[in-house]
Amino acid sequence: MTDATPVLRLEGIVKTFPGVRALDGVDLELRPGEVHALMGENGAGKSTLMKVLGGILQPNEGRILIDEAPVVMTSPLEAKGKGVVFIHQELSLADELSVAENIFLGELPRKRFGRVDWTRLYATTDAILKTLNVRFDARTRVGDLSIANQQMVEIARALTVSPRAVIFDEPTASLTDAEKVVLFDVIEDLKAKGVGIIYISHRMEEIFRITDRISVLRDGQYRGTLRTAETTEDEVTQLMIGRSLDLSRSPVRHALGKVALEVRGLSCGHLYRDVSFSVREGEVLGFYGLVGAGRTEIAETLFGLRTPSAGSIRVNGDEVRIGSPVDAIRHGIGLVPEDRKGQGLVLGMNCRDNMTLPQVDDLSTGPFVSDGAEVAIFDQYRDRLDIRTPGWRQIVGNLSGGNQQKIVIGKWLSMRPQVLIVDEPTRGIDVGSKSEIHNLIRDLAAQGYAVIVISSEMPEVLHVSDRIAAMYSGRIMRTFAAEEVTEDSLIQAISGLEPEKVA
């Protein structure tokens, strides 16, 4: 790789949202024929940067240059027209249409009177597919293709414009090892053609296998660029996590109670296999791993939303069968779900009704709901969790993310659960409320609750957990005690680099 003119350059990009500086002077330089990794923790600003690059967001400051000429991009279509194309993690294809129609959607070649020129469409498509070495043709229905092949269709779509820069966002998230090899070959081909490639991934193994340089973002700031060949995983990790983070855990250790939840050999199809762990009263067990590692699926199984294919669940020593959320609630398991707005709350309902929803039957007097009892519960948990709302009649959809999350937590606390599972407790929550929620989780443990915290954010897991289960690809690779864990060892465990150890 030579130091040729960069195909793409970002200079001092600043993007602010109310109260947040999401990007704070980010520089990035992409050379022709290079694979450039963009790394950073969740929330570091990667997606915001890519949205700026894709024309979805406009930067407040800074310039984007393509072939050293400044450009302004106001829509994804415009970005594509300038040769900047994205291969998204979530595929955006129409299942019912053919490969060719998907690739040329919106720009199908026409004959007279607006009729589609099918002959030309299929011929052009097959020509592109040939360069990708795939085993399906232009007429195949996209819904019949594997995920990996659908991704190839997305790539083919990118190739219709002879791109200058291609951005891959977590492209291997749902690929098998064999499929990854095919993808990497395609990336090599693009590289050989002089296309610049930005590769976003959390997986160190892949980063070190295919990239030439690595740029790191942290808290919206550009932290530097390393040559892959000259660096180490440790160095990259250091740069990603930094030293300034407050990783101190609550130093007050309280005595743990009896085992509240014990899971043995739990499996659920291909989602996760042979998972065993236990949580004691007064303990926070963290689950850390990449999206898709099986963490949420375990939580959903414990809450009766999935049926395990093998294994046992014991609550307070008794083996239980959990076939529905109603069963889970009866056995004292509460779940604060990952998708607060989609799964946690009825946004159009008021605060009190949301909070008391699981126990509305128990709270009724005779055939009627009991306003008094419900308001009393709401008031109690509003004070205890410091929920800021004008009153219980407030529609939940009008609250801030942090206060919404507290309503969901209050919903389960008021049920006095044996085990509280909190999935991504601070997703989409501003920094101030974040630490409040973290303290809350620690407090709950101190009060004797058994808590499971699932998170994709390392500082969060390190901060709140007494023990951390590191998951990779449906397995618990290792369970760390809070005292012994290091960022490096945790990253290695969730990247599948470390040999499997028995939890």
């Binding site: 809450f303 939303l305 529905s324 959320p325 109603v326 889970a328 609630i329 779940l335 779900p337 989609g342 799964q343 946690g344 709350l345 009825v346 946004l347 159009g348 309902m349 009704d353 929803l357 699981p358 509305v360 039957d361 009724s364 055939p367 009627f368 709901v369 919903k411």
Partner: protein
């Protein structure tokens, strides 16, 4: 200051747009024809809206629960024909419970398909609209159904009777509206209907048995249809097979006009009652203006669409929006 009042007016419109429209509409019609607000005319409108209104009460639960019910019109024909037929074979005292049982079976069938099997309610109830019509024709052999001894039965009380000078249909409608309003706003079941319609996934994640709640909304809807069928049969003491035809759309219009969200999770019994009355008064007003019967169809629907549009426009504070 002006901005403040404008904002306040906007809020009032957004919250009570339909009520305001109703008031304006009543005033305009009353000015055009004073007979419109004559007590006899008003009572007449309410009375003739009662059957539609009773059906709309049940459908309100279904719609708030996030589903549709397009089968109520043909189900009402079924109830009417069945109860008239059984009246002469079993006698009125047995005919009524038998008809209720059969109608509730139809509701249960829809409830199982939509609630437990999670089939799309539009498809299921559209299919049932046809299927139940077929059942009705099979039952009647395609003939009109009439009670043989119209003078000698007490069966007419539900449609023709008076209590203390108030027509029984109005009493039934009013009583049912009060009871169902309490059920919807004051019982755990009502709360769950709102939760399931507002966000079914979140309801499930809160341990609300979504399928059972949806099932029960259809049972309730069928129960209301059975009452409506009873009122219809009792009023006419004889009926065609198609007596309820097209009512499913009028019922839905009344519910939506009242402000229940087609997406579920919002609406009240009170608002539905307002919707029913608006519909009844529109048709009556047009009639008094001397418009032909078939012109009414067109004008009624234009007014409904206008009302719904203004309601939505007030909620998003502009007349047109590229996104919903």
């Amino acid at each position: 200051m002006a901005a403040l009042t404008r904002e306040a007016a906007g809020r009032l419109l957004a919250r009570q747009g339909i009520l305001v429209a109703f008031a304006v509409f009543m005033v305009v019609f009353a000015l055009a024809n004073p007979r419109f607000i004559d007590i006899g005319n008003v009572a007449g409108v309410i009375r003739s809206s009662a059957i539609l209104g009773v059906m709309a009460l049940g459908v309100t639960f279904v719609v708030i629960g996030g589903n549709l019910d397009l089968s109520v019109g043909s189900m009402m024909s079924f109830s009417t024909i069945v109860v008239l037929d059984l009246h002469d074979t079993l006698g009125p005292a047995l005919a009524i419970p038998a008809m209720f049982a059969l109608t509730l079976c139809l509701g249960a069938f829809i409830g199982i398909l939509v609630g437990y099997l999670k089939l799309n309610s539009l498809i299921v109830t559209l299919g049932m609209l046809s299927a139940i019509h077929g059942l009705t024709l099979m039952w009647s052999g395609g003939k009109n159904m009439d009670i043989a001894d119209k003078a000698g039965t007490w069966f007419g009380i539900f449609g023709r009777g008076d209590v203390l000078g108030i027509p029984v249909p109005i009493l039934i409608f009013a009583l049912l509206a009060v009871v169902l309003s309490v059920v919807l706003s004051r019982t755990p079941f009502g709360r769950k209907v709102y939760a399931v319609g507002g966000n079914g996934t979140a309801a499930t994640f809160s341990g609300v048995p979504r399928a059972r709640v949806v099932f029960l909304t259809y049972i309730l809807s069928a129960f209301c249809v059975a009452i409506a069928g009873l009122m219809q049969a009792s009023r006419s003491l004889g009926s065609q097979n198609t007596v309820g035809q097209g009512m499913e759309l009028e019922v839905l219009a009344a519910v939506i006009l009242g402000g229940a969200s087609l997406l579920g999770g919002a609406g009240t019994i009170f608002k539905t009652v307002i919707g029913v009355l608006i519909l009844g008064f529109i048709q009556n007003g047009l009639l008094l203006m001397g418009l032909e019967f078939y012109v009414q169809y067109v004008v009624t629907w234009v007014i409904i669409i206008l009302a719904v549009w203004l309601d939505i426009a007030a909620k998003r504070s502009r007349l047109w929006s590229p996104i919903a």
